[in-house]
Subunit: 257 residues, 2 copies
């Protein structure tokens, strides 16, 4: 089993993954962030050395890239030559294995946590599905054992499958969250607290644990209630929100199972 | 305290409300539905008489209209003359008090449960916010006491406030549910089970119990990750889904707190 892990990145994913790995018995050797303060903040939590330059990286068994998608390739290029024999993995849902192609790294892969992270909220990592992929058997075994040490839901998924899951996650997480933000704004404009919607939101989610989302649909769009729909459209002053309301309603009413 | 309640309607709301009222000690006298079988099904559960014609209604202290929004006015018109002294309330989020204007009913109001109901899933009614409104003090007290008997979250809200809450609820419940349906379809097309998204969905909701939805946003749109957004757009074959992805992404990226 490998022991020493270097975390490249100090954002939301890195800030959740690093403590989980430490809790599973790994040693976090270094935390890299271009912003030294960010590196220091996370490094402090996991007893690692903070670094803000990639040429300061020292040997570890595994390097995990938890940086913005479009920074991964650049980070790979900056890995010092003497470290290239280690195992490298990125944590992105949408970057394929091709990011490692033609680079100097021998053992590489992906460990994508299908979850929404924030620095302030701690997550029970054992429930987080981890989608893994690797360039070779050696890397796959290292990555699998690392993934299993922190999560009970480890799944192998190639880049295409992972990208589709990531796309679905954008709808199921980011776009639903945006609908909450819109609801919050509508209520705030009328001096009403968002909390009033929480039982409804909780129940909507409880439902889709038990039935297909399309079967769980309620409301004016699926009922085809033209009067309510017209009144709602007239209540929305913001053109963009009108457009969202219109297209969602049309899509719900014409949805084919 | 009033005792006898007649439920007009046998849909999702009626099917949840009637048993809750019965559990709180009210007697459900009749259940009306134009479809006798529907009436009989719900009536059987609460020990009431099923009726499929409004001229068969007999006296009750209160009549609750839980029918489609555009059927409420018509139901009001069909209430037999000798029953017009009772208290009448509808359960719609989007129909204002004006639906009772110029009608023969003396005491009327609204009891709107802010929740998504289905016939198959039972709901803990005590957590369901009930928005109430009435034409006069007498009706308000009857409606308030009935509401408090089944829920701990009873709020007075005039029609305008209630309509805005209902509009917000459409975004927070129906439109989010549609995003789940889209995610389900994307995964299904690739042979992947929707359940893989449940931990992510649960966590997204847990977040907005603790922070403002706009502050909880993650993903490519809020990060401004143009590469991922372009790739996602290219992965969506369906024009409507492309359109939804585009407008949601634009709205998230330009969102002002």
């Amino acid at each position: 089993m490998i022991k020493d892990i270097c975390i490249i990145g100090a954002g939301n994913v890195a800030s959740s993954l690093a403590p989980a790995l430490q809790g599973a018995g790994y040693r976090i050797t270094q935390v890299f962030s271009r912003d030294f303060d960010n590196a220091a903040q996370l490094a402090g939590k996991v007893g690692a050395e903070p670094v803000s330059r990639l040429d300061k990286l020292s040997y570890a068994d595994m390097f995990i890239f938890s940086v913005k998608d479009n920074c991964i390739a650049q980070c790979i290029d900056c890995i010092p030559e003497n470290l290239c024999d280690a195992v490298f993995a990125h944590t992105s849902g949408s970057v394929g294995m091709e990011v490692f192609k033609g680079k100097r790294l021998k053992h590489c892969g992906v460990i994508y946590p299908l979850q929404t992270f924030s620095k302030t909220l701690r997550i029970g990592f054992r429930d987080v599905p981890l989608l893994i992929e690797a360039s070779d058997k050696f890397a796959l075994e290292i990555i699998r054992s690392l993934a299993l040490s922190v999560s009970d839901k480890v799944l192998e998924a190639d880049s295409e499958k992972r990208k589709n899951i990531h796309l679905a996650a954008v709808f199921a997480c980011n776009f639903t969250n945006h609908m909450y933000a819109v609801a919050d704004k509508i209520l705030e404009d009328k001096g009403i607290c968002f909390d009033i919607l929480l039982p409804l939101i909780d129940e909507s989610v409880r439902k889709i644990h038990r039935m297909k989302p399309a079967d769980a649909q309620t409301g004016p769009a699926v009922r085809g209630d033209a009067n309510v729909i017209a009144e709602h459209m007239s209540m929305l002053a913001d053109e963009r929100l009108k457009q969202i309301y219109g297209i969602m309603t049309k899509d719900i009413s014409e949805w084919e199972q």
